[in-house]
């Protein structure tokens, strides 16, 4: 089966940003749903938890610690798990990721290329940066360069805005931001919940979303690819709902309009 083959050849290590306060309310449900499709999963917090595979990093909790958490998480992974995967996904504990669709995307690239993927935003960095909430993926080479950047002080903790800072570091280290839209130019990574993207005019015309998005995009059915990879701001009940909609509920015998080939 195609999905099984891709699982073996496109190895993805997922790390999920979490904390002691959201372990039970969020991380637990992430763990019960999409992360079982990762080749390896790690949860990153300020406190260790052996039950849920949670790594205790030397950080404090709080929004201002997010980039420290990211830096230390990637360093931890580089030190202990670098050889176990080809691609490294970062997600929040309210991000839902469809690994099969991620592997389809990644299978078109080589992990030795200095590239990274996600929902591309503009502003703050010349080549843009990837939204933290929508989840982003570093190639093996990109991770190597991230670590190298900190070793050589080319990259540093300049602010706590995790996704923007990571984007700047990537740019400094000549890691390319990839255009991750599908064949019909529909986005794969989504920084909001499905309803906000799919319902026309749900998002106000003044919403930050329109000015941040790197590529032209729309709301309504054109927002999203059939083979979407991620959605964000997904609470615990929604995690299971999405799992049901993606992996279980279907229209029997239906011939899809969009196909990957």
């Amino acid at each position: 089966m195609v999905a099984e083959d891709l699982y073996k050849t496109v190895r993805v290590l997922c790390w999920v940003m979490t904390g002691p306060k959201t372990l039970e309310t969020k991380a637990k449900h992430v763990n019960a749903t999409w992360t079982k499709n990762c080749n390896k999963v790690l949860y990153m917090s300020s406190e260790e938890d052996k039950m849920l595979n949670v790594v205790g990093l030397d950080v404090k909790e709080g929004r201002d610690q997010l980039y420290w958490k990211t830096i230390k998480a990637f360093h931890y992974i580089y030190e202990h798990h670098f050889d176990e995967a080809d691609w490294f996904l970062k997600a929040d504990d309210d991000t839902f990721v469809i690994l099969e669709n991620l592997r389809l995307l990644l299978s078109q690239y080589i992990p030795d290329q200095p590239i990274y993927f996600g929902r591309r935003f503009k502003l703050f960095a010349k080549q843009g940066y990837m939204s933290g909430g929508a989840g982003y993926v570093l190639s093996k080479e990109a991770l190597r360069r991230f670590i190298e950047g900190f070793k050589t002080k080319k990259c540093a903790h300049l602010s706590c805005v995790e996704d923007v800072e990571l984007g700047k570091c990537m740019e400094t280290m000549n890691v390319t931001a990839v255009d991750t839209r599908d064949r019909n130019k529909k986005e794969l990574f989504h920084p909001l919940a499905p309803e906000l993207h799919l319902v026309k005019s749900y998002l106000a015309k003044k919403s930050w979303y329109w000015s941040y998005n790197f590529y032209p995009t729309e709301d309504g059915p054109g927002c999203c690819s059939d083979l979407a990879i991620s959605f964000h701001y997904i609470d615990s009940v929604h995690m299971y709902e999405l799992e049901y909609l993606v992996y279980h509920l279907r229209a029997y015998g239906y011939k899809y309009r969009y196909n990957a080939e």
């Binding site: 089966m1 195609v2 999905a3 099984e4 083959d5 891709l6 019960a32 749903t33 469809i98 690994l99 099969e100 669709n101 592997r103 389809l104 499905p194 309803e195 799919l198 319902v199 749900y202 309504g220 059915p221 054109g222 999203c224 059939d226 083979l227 979407a228 615990s236 009940v237 299971y240 709902e241 999405l242 799992e243 049901y244 909609l245 993606v246 992996y247 279980h248 509920l249 279907r250 229209a251 029997y252 015998g253 239906y254 011939k255 899809y256 309009r257 969009y258 990957a260």
Partner: protein, 323 residues
Amino acid sequence: MCKDDSKMISEGSSFIKGMLLGGIFCAAVTLFGNFNKGHQSTTDHHHHHIQAPSEEELLKLPEPKRLELSQHIRVYCIILVQPRELSYWAAVVDTWSKHCDKAEFYTSEDVKVFRAVSLDTKDQWLMLRNALKHAYANGKGYSWFFVALPSTFAIIENLKYFLLNKDPSQPFYIGHTVKSGELEYAELEGGVVLSFEALRRLVGVFSDDVKCPEQGRALWKLTEEKELAVCLKYTGVFAENAEDSEGKEVFNTKSVSTLIKEALAKKPQEVVNGCCSDVAITFHGQSPNYMQVLMYGVYRLRPYGHTFHDSLIFLPPVDSDND
């Protein structure tokens, strides 16, 4: 000849045209003969739980027959709306009703924005009666009639899959059933399915003022779903529940979110598996916004590389962009 059809069709295309015609007739007879054992010429049957056909049963038929069968089953959707539910009405127009072979909206009173059959009454039972009468009068060529309320979301392909091995010239009245004293009825919220024969009998009993009065029972008022059940019972048609091959309900009177929350409370170790059918037909109480999410989730979003060997094929509707 019927049993050897599959071998003959694989030999030479010159046979195919003639065989197809005869084959379809044979398939229909064979199917209905096999799956309706014990109900051949009775005027009333009491099977209470109908199961969807298994893959093996369907896959026994050659592909041309299965394709033809997919296209031959035609569903007439009857959607009962009120002007105060305009946003739901709009959502149904823009979402799942596009998958009905015919979708007719029946309203208590006209609205300028949407085309509908105006029934000029606010009485629920009278609305239902008149809608069904209208559908029957305009329903030649449709084998199944599906009644829905505006906050119900339906997956018509799954309905057709479920109905495939059922003979519409037999009386069927299917939905999410509930017992109220002696009366078993299908809850309107979960969607109600009537075969052509059941509808024919129902329209017949409408003219009987004792068995099925227009104003409802005189002594105690019944809800329209119960009135429907009583009238049908007089014609020998009984409500039947519906489950998939794993015993999961396919007509749901609750929303996806409610069912997930219930599963989370009852079976926290197996929330999604314990929740709902993969081939569910209806959910109820869905907001207009969530219907757009369901269209995307059901007809578009999926994990790459998972293949299904479905024995039927349903094509996307024309002029639609959210499926």
